[in-house]
Amino acid sequence: MRDALIIARKELKSYLSSVSTYIVFVIFLMLSGWFFSNLMFKSGKAELRQLFDVLHLVYLFFIPALTMGMIAKEKADQTFELLATMPIKLKSIVWGKWLAAVELLVIILMFTLVHLLTIMIFGENLDYGSIFCGYLGLVFVGAVYCAIGIFASALQSNQILAFIIALVICLFFYAIQFLMPLFPNALANVFQYLSMDYHLENFLKGIIDTRDIIYMGSLVIGFMLLAEFSLRMNNRLQER
């Protein structure tokens, strides 16, 4: 755990001192801001539902872009060999990276609070509970996508490829909701349960349900184990 925190701190520091991170941040905020203002003035409601839906969509590109380098770059620069031969567990490395990605995500979500400020000024009767739950849900969804991104990044040493793999996997969980009508009724429930949007919807309504948390938690753990496993296979590291 301590090792994971060390890795996370180092990772966060180097991400925050790199220009490309800020470019990704700016693109993220521009997209979400543009969609938010467009949709909000059309609907005329004092809520952040539309923003959250937009953020979920932007996640699909933002999170793979954020995580693509986390392990792939270490492999390409050969620094992974250093980390792997340090007296730390492989688990600490991947979880440290994940933690850093989630922290970055939380930082960027803080910037979107400016939209909340807008509707606080111009709107009335805000449901702060559901807004809080919505943000919580977004962090959870982001955590899952971060795990997917870390997994994709651990597969090989090409960052672009890592981005594409992560995007495809995230897209699968995102797009299931649109494919629902195509599935036979018997399978509908299964696919509904797999759909990320279905679980996020509960949060957006202001419901914190353990089923949703279990769903997201198990996805995070599952992809993190896969990431660790793939590193172990690729480098044939000893059990550590």
Binding site: S14, E81, L82, T85, I88, M233, Q238, R240
Partner: protein, 343 residues
């Protein structure tokens, strides 16, 4: 200290390290020498636990490396072939990060940092981002990383690559000094380096150990012969009388050259025949113009060994395959399947 038994590493069809065994006692500086692609890096990577051997065991400090890899990693300092540096960090941040990963406390870190900065000559660049450093400073930063925690075993993969001659000398001195108290394994394809630093030399080629001897022995056993070249002024020199006296001497060359003669003798290194020959020539009233002795350098030995074993190996592998191919493939197959997804 380090005990390696029948270590083998296969990557799909290539056998990078082929059944090597050696023992390194504590406090020895051992040089791994071999041409590029001989399996040096693969061996070292297995020693530090970055690669899993296909076959064979490694024991460090009387302990199999699989029993406590984390504890073992604390004792080892490792400088990989591709110097692993984070370009965006400063030298200080980098070393601090390493110290944190190694769970060093504040005080030990400050002490060791002082030591490392002095020894590796990094004091001037401590605050600079690593990407702005020259190759030599980068290499020293990598070395500083490896010795920061005062490891018992130091494994250095081509530690002096990219350094200028002065720096190479400094680093060699440093390695020698560290080697007084610690076990050091370094790999190199540069002969002089190994010659200058190591107590013992292990030469590998194509994944096999072809020589494993103390530095001095290696020269003696393999150089075998000395060649003595003389130029002399004489009508028609005839050495048969002298050669009869010394049957172990071989006359390799005898050519007339612009009114004088150039001759080359070859004889075992332990004999000292220069004086004898000179006296013989004097007794014949010939005139010596020049005379020089040439001993095989390690470089030549290295060249001799690595090229010789090429042909040897071909013959051997052919016969081996013919002999025991059925059993060999049976044993090897499952092993290879496990290793299928090669990075």
């Amino acid at each position: 200290m380090i005990e390696v038994n029948h270590l083998t590493k296969r990557f799909d069809v290539i056998t990078a390290v082929d059944d090597i065994s050696f023992y390194i006692p504590a406090g020895e500086i051992v040089g791994f020498l071999g041409p590029n692609g001989a399996g040096k890096t693969t061996t070292l990577r297995m020693l530090v636990g970055y690669l899993q051997p296909s076959f064979g065991t490694i024991r460090i400090s009387e302990q199999d490396i699989n029993t406590d890899p984390i504890g073992l990693a604390r004792q080892i300092g490792y400088l990989p072939e591709q110097n692993p540096l984070y370009d965006d960090m400063t030298v200080y941040d980098y070393l601090q990060f390493i110290a944190e990963l190694r769970h060093m406390d504040e005080q030990t870190f400050t002490e060791r940092l002082e030591f490392v900065l002095d020894k590796c000559g990094l004091r001037d660049v401590i605050g600079q981002p690593i990407q702005t450093l020259s190759k030599g400073y980068k290499q020293r930063t990598g070395l500083a990383q490896a010795i920061l925690h005062d490891p018992q075993v130091l494994i250095l993969d081509e530690p002096t690559s990219g350094l200028d001659p002065n720096q190479i000398l400094e680093i060699r001195e440093l390695i020698k000094e560290l080697g007084k108290a610690k076990t050091v394994i370094l790999s190199s394809h540069i002969m002089q380096e190994v010659q200058a630093v190591c107590d013992r030399i292990i030469i590998i080629n194509k994944g096999k150990i072809i020589a494993d001897e103390p530095k001095e022995e290696l020269g003696k056993n393999l150089s075998g012969s000395v060649s003595l070249t003389i130029e002399l002024e004489a009508e028609n020199p005839d050495f048969s009388a002298w050669l009869e006296l010394h049957p172990e001497v071989e006359l390799k060359e005898c050519v007339p050259k612009e009114g004088h003669w150039k001759m080359e003798f070859s004889y075992p290194a332990e004999l000292d025949l220069q004086r004898d020959l000179a006296q013989f020539i004097a007794s014949q009233k010939w005139l010596i113009l020049s005379m020089y002795k040439q001993q095989h350098s390690l470089e030549e030995i290295f060249h001799l060994l690595t090229t010789e074993s090429d042909t040897d190996e071909l013959d051997k592998s052919e016969t081996e395959e013919a002999d025991n191919s059925p059993t060999a493939t049976q044993v090897e197959e499952p092993e290879e399947k496990e290793e299928d997804d090669n990075a």
